[in-house]
Symmetry: C2
Subunit: 129 residues, 2 copies
């Protein structure tokens, strides 16, 4: 279960609108980018949110990986996106693949501001319950 969890919160995205509103297109692209990063998809799901008085609805996309998961949420009315890429090290160290995938997705959404976070997961340093 030891591995790397990368998060990135993207603001003021300059990409074409459909990347923030069309889950099917986003899922298809994400699947290809994951394959390029040599990670392996084992499941997927997407949801489109309805429009609200403040703008068009966003999408949520989750890709289950043999190496763990990728989740994307979009807020088209704000031009914002959150990315989660978690890869465990079962069968090898997938950290470089996760980092490459994150950079590819950030390039896709073309944000003006990014807040990144790196979390190393699975080490036994926590508290007794």
């Amino acid at each position: 279960m030891q591995g790397l969890h990368l998060t990135a919160d993207l603001h003021d995205c300059q990409c074409a609108d459909f990347w923030l509103t069309e889950g099917t297109i986003l899922l298809e692209c994400l699947t290809r980018v994951v394959a390029v990063a040599k990670l392996n998809v084992v499941g997927q799901v997407a949801h489109h949110f309805p429009a609200t008085p403040i703008g068009r609805g966003g999408v949520t996309v989750a890709l289950l990986l043999a190496e763990s998961h990728v989740c994307i949420h979009t807020w088209p009315e704000q031009g914002s996106v959150t990315l989660d890429i978690y890869v465990c090290n079962f069968g090898g160290d997938h950290s470089d693949a996760a980092k490459a995938l994150q950079e590819a997705l950030i390039a896709l959404f073309a944000p003006r501001h990014v807040e990144r976070n790196i979390l190393h997961r699975g080490s036994i340093t926590g508290h007794l319950v």
Copy 2:
């Protein structure tokens, strides 16, 4: 997109084995616990991993929420689980619901050690791209 992302890495889980190996049961229970926390499911997906020479295969479960997502990965051969609960604050502050959900899931898996992390997401404090 501002919100709270809770992670917990659970070690030496004392729960019944099926919680770590049966995605259908885990998904059903998770759906109920999420409803009790007054969060709203909008999609779900599960994957069972095959057994390996070191033990039975684990499961990955992702629940898409109106408030963002929940992901669970299990490693039955290690008695380990990772939890992710991310709730954005669109439509209200769901932080208390996320914390209640996390504690309910930790109680379900009954780990002897837990590594928790709290990540506040969506604030514009990041770097220009």
